[in-house]
């Protein structure tokens, strides 16, 4: 060994911790002055887009002593952001226009590497000048014990353009200003919240009156508009939507002997801030608001394990626990449409989960191994239900069956895997089951929809243990305790033709059984689903070329049950007043689903139970099974996650090291899901992506990498906007008026077959096409080996296309009801058929440029300058509806699409010692 190799370092002395503390204190102090958030990350990696901290210069030609002792590194600097953008600073915190401090450090030390002492420590901190700062301290005696303390902050900035009229943001009660005027312009709609008043253009627009005459607003209506604008517009003010997640954790690892390890860890996380949540005031008019929602959550997690190694046997007993607490249990808000009315929302309930896992593995021989795992978990949730009197919306007029859920879920896992390498064969066989057994007790919950007071009398009122006074629009619901048991088994055999060529064949069987504990009827859309998968893979290396091809085909089949939705409505199994059997019995005896007969108006009027349950051959009457909503499914409809499916997956990868200087890598992936027995719903999903990477190493000093990825996803779905069969000819208009569209010639014909109108069938063709291209460049040893340049450019071009085929009917605005309405001229269409239009393309184009330069001052000090330009130019139609004055019933937020163009630049001084 050369003398240099035996040189010792002095990091184990007390000097290093003291120095560390002082430097940390300096950095912390600097960071305190930095009000802005985040550290720009420099890029030097070979994969564009991934980032490393703006690292200090590491000199080359290190001595043996330098190579064998830990290094301490620190970075202090100043940087600035050119303009504020929440989207740009979504996670990195650079969401404000500001100057901020750059502070990163990485200190380590401990005993000498060749001493018998194994004490070592490591202290790292990053982004100290920003809100997103992190820190990790590790120390311990290797092979004996190890401690880790970590702290980190994650930001999630959502929007800085959100506006709301609600007061009390940050609390669980939202109110409206005292001078709030309900924004309903009677000229547009006499009852529904329409916010037209906030927009002078739309508010002053003309409408057709009951005589079919286009009429401007009256002076009184214009005065009302002005009053609404004067009172309500000032109430809208900006609220930043952002979440902060602060997490601290402690871990300890004890190693009492070489064969036993005991890792223990605890963590606490607090999540705080605001986001939006949709709140419904009136389900009938769909008056809703995107409310500022206070997030105030705590999550504690703990884990512990005992790992024991006994010769060929390895055993592990582990515990994991998680406790989530929501510090705000509910939210109440005022209805902007009805002064004095309040609505309530139950927030995410506090819950706990505890899990024990036992793992064992045994080396049967040098080449054979068996691993078995068993795990059992218990999740509970028992937060008190919301108090029915908390709001005055009248949602729960009949009280509650119990005060809390008493939610209980058991999870279980059993898994076994056997692996064997024998000669040229490599074999794997595995079996697995996992279960979610929801043991939450059921209850019957009676509730009214939003702003839907009781009307009529339910055919179940006062029967079957239910209270009297139930309306026909009262929902009588059972909760469902969704449970699932999954079995899997399979095997793979790989044959090696040579050291570099392999062929694998595999088979997998998977069965999922679904049920609901205590449910009166099968609740699962597919009670049992089985899937067989066949896989093959070939890979070969030859010289500079490495190739891999994988293919898998799977076939999933299940027993789909179109009446599973009835599990939620226990009255479907009870006989309603006036009928001779229950809805469920009726459906079973007729072989129908909740959709009823797939037919137009019956030739002769229906009688008996058919007239009660499926009047006019329509869907099952809601009141007859105690629901306000139409829950049924159309025959032939399949939910894609349980539907019969043929899946083809293929993947290929090619690596060519053309020369020492050039490497080319290409890969392609394809996934095709064909829901072959689905007539309605998602019928096909196809996804493919291709990537090309080229790396060029001109010399040790110059490296360039380029990549391009194209990603294409297509979802093809079908639907049916069926209506109800009626005998009506046309509302308000006498006679059998003319209809538009290719399917029927008269309104009467269409209404008679409204349920099976082929013009109401539609298809969606949703495509995502995304191009991503990147370039990284690194040049070292410039300016007399003192300058290093690095740069990265990444461009992403995202397109989402939502193509729609089909159409819908819309009444001619001149075809008005009422005796005063003028009749339409002969031959004029009373109802137009409107062909569907594609949604506008959603675009997200992002360009990011990040050059940096490092200048070496001395062997241990360097100066680093960095710059970051990023631009996002998106378009998104969903924001149109959020602006005031659009004819929508939800409270506007005036949010705008997050477009930005931001420059970040800075200078930092780096030390290595």
């Amino acid at each position: 060994m050369k003398p240099g190799n035996t040189r010792r370092f002095s990091a184990g002395s007390m000097k290093a911790p003291v120095l560390t503390s002082i430097l940390s204190a300096i950095l912390m102090a600097l960071s305190a002055f930095a009000a802005a958030q985040t550290v720009p990350q420099n890029t030097t990696g070979r994969n564009p887009g991934t980032q490393v901290p703006p690292g200090p210069y590491i000199p080359e030609g290190l001595t043996a002593a330098e190579q064998t002792r830990p290094h301490n590194r620190s970075q202090i600097g100043v940087a600035g952001v050119s303009s504020p953008s929440f989207k740009f600073g979504e996670y990195n915190g650079l969401n404000k226009f500001h100057v901020f401090a750059v502070g990163n450090f990485d200190f380590s030390g401990g005993a000498l590497y060749d001493s018998n002492d194994t004490w070592r420590w490591h202290f790292r901190g990053s982004s100290l000048g920003l809100e997103t700062r992190d820190g990790i301290l590790d120390f311990g005696k290797q092979g004996k014990f190890q401690f880790r303390f970590a702290y980190g902050t994650i930001l999630a900035n959502t929007s800085d353009s959100y506006q709301t009229p609600f007061l009390g943001v940050g609390t669980d009660t939202l109110t409206l200003p005292s001078n709030w005027i309900v924004p309903i312009l009677a000229q547009k709609s006499a009852t529904a919240l329409n916010y037209f008043g906030l927009n002078p253009v739309s508010a002053a627009g003309s409408v057709y009156n009951s005589h079919g005459v286009l009429t401007p607003p009256t002076p009184a209506q214009l005065d009302k508009m002005a009053a609404i604008r004067a009172a309500d517009l000032p109430a809208f003010r900006n609220v930043d939507l952002a979440l902060t997640r602060k997490r601290g954790e402690a871990q300890v690892l004890f190693t009492p002997t070489e064969t036993i390890d005991i890792p223990v860890g605890v963590s606490h996380e607090h999540k705080d801030g605001a986001r939006t949540v949709g709140g419904v005031n009136d389900q009938n008019t769909q008056d809703t608001a995107l409310l500022p929602y206070r997030v105030n959550w705590d999550t504690d997690q703990a884990s512990a394990a005992v790992n024991v190694k006994l010769n060929k046997l390895f055993l592990s007993f582990a515990y994991y626990g998680s406790h989530f607490r929501n510090n705000t249990e509910h939210m109440i808000w005022a209805d902007p449409a009805v002064l004095g009315l309040t609505s309530a929302l139950a927030e995410e309930p506090s819950n706990q989960f505890h899990q024990f896992t036992a793992t064992g593995s045994y080396k049967l021989s040098r080449d054979a191994k068996l691993v078995v795992v068993g795990s059992i978990g218990r999740g509970t949730q028992n937060q008190a239900f919301i108090n029915p009197s908390l709001s005055n919306e009248g949602a729960l007029p009949f009280g509650l069956p119990r005060s809390s859920l008493q939610g209980l879920v058991y999870t279980g896992l059993g898994s076994g895997k056997f692996t064997l390498k024998h000669g040229k064969w490599d074999l794997v066989a595995d079996a697995r089951f996992d279960e979610r057994d929801n043991q939450t007790p059921l209850g019957i919950f009676l509730f009214q929809d939003d702003a839907s007071p009781k009307t009529g009398t339910s055919p179940f009122s006062g029967l079957y243990g239910l209270p009297t006074g139930l309306g026909t629009n009262t929902n009588i619901y059972n909760n469902r305790s969704l449970s699932k048991l999954s079995y899997k088994a399979g095997g793979e055999a790989e044959y090696s033709f040579s050291k570099s060529e392999h062929l694998m064949l595999g088979y997998g069987w998977d069965q999922v059984d679904r049920h609901c504990s205590y449910s009166w009827i099968t609740c699962a859309d597919a009670k049992q689903v089985s899937e067989n998968t066949f896989r093959t893979e070939w890979r070969k290396s030859k010289g500079a070329l490495t190739a891999r091809v994988e293919y898998a085909f799977s076939e999933r089949r299940g027993d789909y049950n179109e009446n599973a939705f009835l599990a939620e409505t226990p009255m479907a199994n009870q006989v309603p007043k006036g009928a001779s059997m229950s809805v469920y019995s009726f459906l079973k005896s007729t072989g129908l689903t909740g959709f009823g007969p797939v037919a137009g108006l019956p030739g002769t009027p229906l009688t008996g139970d058919a007239a009660i349950f499926t009047p006019n051959n329509n869907v099952v009457a809601q009141a007859q099974y105690g629901t306000r909503n139409i829950l049924n499914e159309i025959p032939g409809f399949r939910k894609y996650y349980v539907a019969d499916r043929n899946r083809n997956d293929a993947r290929t990868q090619l690596l060519w090291l053309a020369k020492d200087k050039v490497a080319i890598q290409g890969s392609g992936e394809l996934s095709d899901d064909d829901y072959l027995n689905t007539k309605l719903g998602l019928k096909r999903r196809t996804w493919w992506a291709a990537t090309m990477d080229v790396s060029y190493t001109a010399s040790e000093d110059l490296v360039a990498d380029v990549f391009y990825t194209y990603d294409n996803q297509r979802l093809y779905a079908t639907g049916d906007a069926f209506a109800s069969n009626t005998t009506a000819k046309f509302q308000g208009q006498a006679g059998n008026t003319v209809l538009g569209g290719p399917c029927f010639t008269t309104v009467a014909d269409r209404n008679a077959s409204a349920k099976i109108d082929p013009c109401l069938n539609w298809t969606h063709n949703d495509r995502d096409k995304i191009d991503t291209a990147g370039l990284t460049l690194r040049r070292k040893n410039l300016a007399g080996n003192k300058l290093e340049l690095a740069g990265e450019v990444v461009y992403t071009r995202g397109r989402t296309e939502n193509a729609v085929v089909g159409g819908s009917y819309v009444n001619n605005p001149l075809a008005l009801a009422g005796p005063a309405a003028p009749p339409l001229p002969a031959g004029t269409q009373a109802i137009f058929f409107i062909p569907a239009q594609n949604f506008p393309v959603v675009r997200n184009d992002e360009l990011s440029v990040k050059p940096s330069a490092t200048y070496v001052i001395t062997r241990s000090a360097s100066l680093q300058g960095f710059y970051w330009f990023q631009r996002l130019t998106p378009t998104d139609w969903r924001y149109q509806a959020l602006q005031v004055g659009n004819k929508l019933n939800f409270t506007p937020t005036n949010e705008t699409v997050p477009s930005y163009q931001v420059h970040v630049g800075g200078l930092s001084l780096n030390w290595v010692f």
Partner: protein, 490 residues
């Protein structure tokens, strides 16, 4: 005193903790596997408990076997013998349970006796092997001595006549000494040449000297390994150069020969994946960072080895740093690299979340190398508020978060596969979910009809197609705990 403490701890570990651990483990496994299988059986299914007892007795001896018998009896009585969840045994099952206990004891006795006899056979075999080795060594030594004497004799017989012929006795003695020395030198060379071959792998850092003589500070960053956990002399587990690279006798004799195990990806002498993996797994297969699931895992099956991701000589391994880990993963997962540049994504590029927060690249019990048993369990480690159980559960949410979300990135916020209402209409076709929503339903939508362009009337715009679409009202889509929230709107 210290000795008595040590005896007590040895007794506790040997006669209580170890048997209890082994028996508890196997019985627990049997219990977990019996739960799903029991539903297919008319009578209590106890066969897995027999297996557990056998394994306990085999690995832990009589005491562990007895403990397993007791535990199995209790668990079977409590869980699988009517009346369930009670220690009472129904009359018709009393004989069944008694038979089980008797058979269990017999199985336990048989298993531990077999184990004992096998251990005894193995011990005698080992002892025999040692004796044979000793005898062989003695024989070899004797042979060498004989050979040495023969050779010395031969030298003497050759040297003496020559000296008599040419010179004096003194000169003959000098020649004799020289001849003997030459022989000794030859022997030393032979021994030097042979020593690495017969020596065991030197796993101490002192043993590294034979490597660092050549592989010194001028050989890149080879010596940087002494900054890492693999270069701590005080830790008896430290492997040393030969612990990973193999004994490499030929390489020591001739530097142009490659070491036994070569990890450098660019090297033409790169060792096979099996050899490279074995070098690491010899220590890491079952240890604190257990690589228990490595064999048969997705990465292992595709020929990925430890050093494809880990740089053992680098004290700042990219794969162990949150900020730089994705660079390593993206070398192969290039499509995922692109996905993390999309409009909606997890904060991977900022280093706030990293690949190994969700995936365990060394294999796991979950699908897609998830760190937990299922995808949902993995997501709940950060999103515990969505765990519930809720009063009103949404089936696809309970099943799998990826039914609706693309966790690596999406063009649609928040990480959605496609946007609402299209996403929701893939599963819902009743009530207002059945409707056709198109670009005609956006604000400002007008239609060209036979009568010319007219306002869209009641068809446009619609709440369901705009803003948050379905989620504007059904905002509690992950589940609701409001007694009136069956439609996920409260």
């Amino acid at each position: 005193m210290a000795e008595s403490h040590s005896l007590v701890s040895v007794w506790i570990v040997g006669f209580v903790a170890k048997p209890l651990g082994i028996s508890g483990f196997f019985v627990l496994l049997a219990l977990l596997w019996t739960f799903p299988l029991q539903r297919f059986m008319a009578y209590p299914f106890v066969f897995l408990f027999f297996a557990a007892i056998m394994c306990s007795a085999w690995f832990g001896g009589y005491i562990a076997g007895l403990m397993a018998v007791v535990m199995s009896s209790i668990l079977i009585t409590f869980f699988f013998v009517p009346p369930y969840y009670s220690m009472t045994i129904g009359r018709e099952f009393q004989s069944y349970v008694a038979a089980f206990v008797i058979c269990a004891i017999a199985v336990m006795a048989l298993s531990s006796a077999r184990k004992k006899s096998e251990t005894a056979i193995r011990a005698s075999r080992d002892e025999l092997e040692i004796r044979v080795n000793e005898r062989t060594a003695e024989l070899r030594h004797s042979n060498q001595e004989i050979l040495e004497r023969e050779r010395q004799l031969m030298l003497l017989t050759e040297a003496i006549p020559q000296q008599i012929w040419r010179s004096s006795v003194i000169v003959a003695l000098v020649v004799l000494c020289a001849g003997t020395r030459s022989f000794a030198q030859n022997e030393t060379f032979a021994a030097n040449k042979k020593s690495p071959a017969v020596a065991g792998v030197d796993r101490s850092l002192d043993g590294d000297k034979k490597c660092t003589l050549c592989h010194n500070e001028s050989s890149g960053h080879v010596l940087s390994i002494y900054q890492t956990k693999h270069g701590v002399k005080g830790d008896s587990r430290t492997p040393g150069c030969q612990g990973c690279h193999g004994e490499s006798v030929k390489h020591q004799e001739n530097p142009s020969e490659s070491p036994e195990i070569v990890f450098g990806a660019k090297s033409k002498q790169l060792s096979s994946t099996e050899a490279r993996s074995s070098a690491c797994l010899s220590c890491h297969e079952s240890s604190v960072h257990a690589r228990t699931y490595w064999l048969g895992s997705a990465h292992e099956k595709q020929g990925v080895t430890c050093t494809d991701c880990h740089e053992m000589h680098n004290p700042e391994q990219k794969v162990l740093n949150k900020l730089t880990q994705p660079e390593v993963c993206f070398q192969c997962h290039q499509n995922e690299r692109a996905q993390f540049h999309r409009f909606s994504r997890h904060p991977i590029l900022e280093g706030k979340v990293t690949c190994s927060d969700c995936h365990n690249p060394h294999g796991s019990t979950g699908p897609r190398l998830m760190v937990k048993n299922t995808i949902t369990e993995t997501c709940y480690t950060c999103h515990a508020e969505k765990r519930g159980p809720f009063l009103w559960e949404h089936a696809p949410v309970v099943e799998d978060c990826t039914n609706c979300h693309s966790p690596h990135g999406s063009n649609v916020t928040p990480l959605l596969k496609t946007r609402a209402p299209m996403l929701c209409q893939e599963c819902h076709t009743s009530d207002h979910a059945k409707g056709l929503y198109s670009g005609a339903n956006l604000p400002g939508g007008t239609f060209v009809t036979g009568n010319g362009t007219i306002p869209a009337g009641g068809q446009s715009p619609t709440d369901q197609a705009n803003g948050r679409s379905c989620l504007q009202c059904h905002s509690q889509i992950h589940g609701s705990n409001h007694p009136g929230g069956a439609k996920y709107n409260r």
